[in-house]
Symmetry: C2
Subunit: 332 residues, 2 copies
């Protein structure tokens, strides 16, 4: 539950159906959980959305921004040229201390750029990583980086391990999180130049390093945190998504190709929907960009109001648990 004041800036113009979905999500978070956000974007349009939802009197603060970085715009260009874009204004609120966290369902590259360039990196962090919680047995596995830094040096992966470990401790109450390195084999001698060097660094660090993990180990619940460069991590989550799409597509065909199949499909439908959702990135709510001066949370562009609401409530919980300060302390 939030304090009375607003501490989350929501890029209300970001996402496929913004601002309708974002405003609806913010209103749901307020009504359902008492969490207040600052809506950043075109004042007239945001006020119109609030009126539509009968929420004009709820007193949600609006911070006007006259521009929007489009979903397909080059992130660096968008963030540099559009000084009055909703994502940049939201980031500025965090930098100036008017808010502690920023959420955007918009252009994810621009959000990462705003996080690094406007909000700023936390002390001791060279490259803030994007962290995604994968579906799986138990409490799941946190994979980072899933796309913020395509080229990494070994030191980056060590920092990812420290941040991921702290994140799981603070957010999921995991004690001494088991940290692994994504690699092509379990043996220490396996890997590319980056993973071999990162292995050595992690082994000598204070994180609870349990060695290499392979792609299959991401979903077994045997490790709590897995680190890799942002290129490999991004490929990994998209292969997971593609495999899920294919498996359930084949299942759908099987469940419509015969009477027997149709009957079976009907019986299993409720369970199938739930399993399917766990592989859908859009259902996760979003992924935090760790290691910035505050908290930046990047949602999926296709997010619906429920996902926006979930993102807001999650970020609020992270702030209540002092995640940014604890990360900074841990990295010192």
């Amino acid at each position: 539950m939030s304090d009375a004041g607003e501490r989350i800036a929501l890029d209300a113009m970001g996402g496929d159906n913004a601002p309708a979905t974002t405003v609806a999500g913010a209103v749901e978070a307020l009504r359902g959980s008492g969490v207040r956000t600052i809506l950043v974007g075109d004042r007239d349009r945001l006020e119109a959305e609030l009126r539509k939802l009968g929420a004009a009197e709820e007193g949600l603060r609006i911070e006007h921004a006259s521009e929007v970085v489009g979903m397909d715009e080059a992130p660096a260009v968008g963030i540099r040229q559009k000084q009055d874009s909703s994502i940049r204004v939201a980031a500025r609120l965090v930098r100036e201390g008017q808010a502690e966290a920023l959420i955007s369902m918009g252009n994810s590259g621009a959000t990462m750029a705003a996080g690094v360039l406007v909000v700023g990196r936390a002390p001791g962090v060279d490259r803030p990583p994007l962290a995604g919680l994968l579906p799986g047995k138990g409490a799941g596995t946190l994979l980072l980086d899933i796309g913020a830094n395509t080229d990494c040096v070994p030191q980056n992966l060590l920092q990812f391990g420290i941040m991921g470990s702290l994140f799981r401790e603070v957010m999921h109450r995991v004690e001494r999180p088991r940290v692994a390195l994504l690699n092509v084999g379990a043996e220490e001698v396996k890997g590319n130049q980056l993973s071999l060097a990162a292995h050595a660094l992690l082994r000598e660090s204070e994180v609870n390093f349990v060695g290499n993990a392979e792609g299959v180990d991401l979903f077994t619940g045997d490790v709590d945190v897995v680190v890799c460069d942002g290129f490999t991590g991004n490929v990994a989550i998209k292969v997971m998504e593609g495999t899920g799409d294919l498996a359930f597509g084949l299942l759908r065909s099987a469940a419509t190709s015969s009477n027997r199949g149709r009957l079976g499909g009907m019986m299993l439908r409720p369970a199938l929907g739930e399993i399917r959702a766990s592989f859908d990135y859009a259902e996760w709510g979003g992924a935090p960009l760790l290691g910035v001066n505050g908290l930046v949370f990047i949602g999926h562009g296709r997010s619906h109001p429920g996902a926006v609401e979930r993102a807001i409530v999650q970020v609020d919980a992270a702030l209540s648990r002092n995640l940014p300060a604890l990360l900074e302390k841990g990295l010192a």
Copy 2:
């Protein structure tokens, strides 16, 4: 269908249940498809397996090898120190022209090392890649490299594209195969240093380059060949395997947790088994190491006799279509 003579050397000692599974697979390939292999390994044990199968009179040639590289042995060490190992003797048969292809279900690292060091690289090939055909819509997508070369330079990826394209033309009758680069976004400006440079090389090459593919695009049938370094490719296939395990594990739970679920599961069982198998690397038969002087085919250690048989028949078909010579010509 094979010629009368043997042209495939089978590492009969390689794999989890070798030589029982390998000899059984070789006998099935002979009886079912008329394809003769040279069995390489311990003569006494191989003769005993043949007798067990009532196949002592079939006249399968045995080439004695006194040593075996174990599944967990360091590949380079195993292949260098065990000069009379079954994998090394099989590779020597190919180098000496006594066979045209080598199949091993054993230590995959040692098989790759034997391919590169003993069989030798084909002219114009810097780094032979391992190629895996992924399940998916239509004729599937060939991903390479899935694990032979963990660190690559852009030129390697271009060669992978040329070889992958020729492989799909020759083996799967795909005309002008669509070749894509595995990357973190569709736009040309996306990627890490390797993929950005490889993109430029592929664009200017003679392959039918269709741009970047993301992880989700590996299973849609929209591209025929996808190239990447062996680290990323290996993570990709293992994430696919892990996602499949998780999805079907969850499905199994759903199909046993209620009467409704149990009934549905029973109805769908035949279809489920088939879908499940398509995500199981062990069912594929194996993956070719392209760009060596001949053909080296690496099977899964857990292969059963049917998978060994399938590998033999596939390799025989590749030889009948002159794959090695056509690859060499295409690379010239």
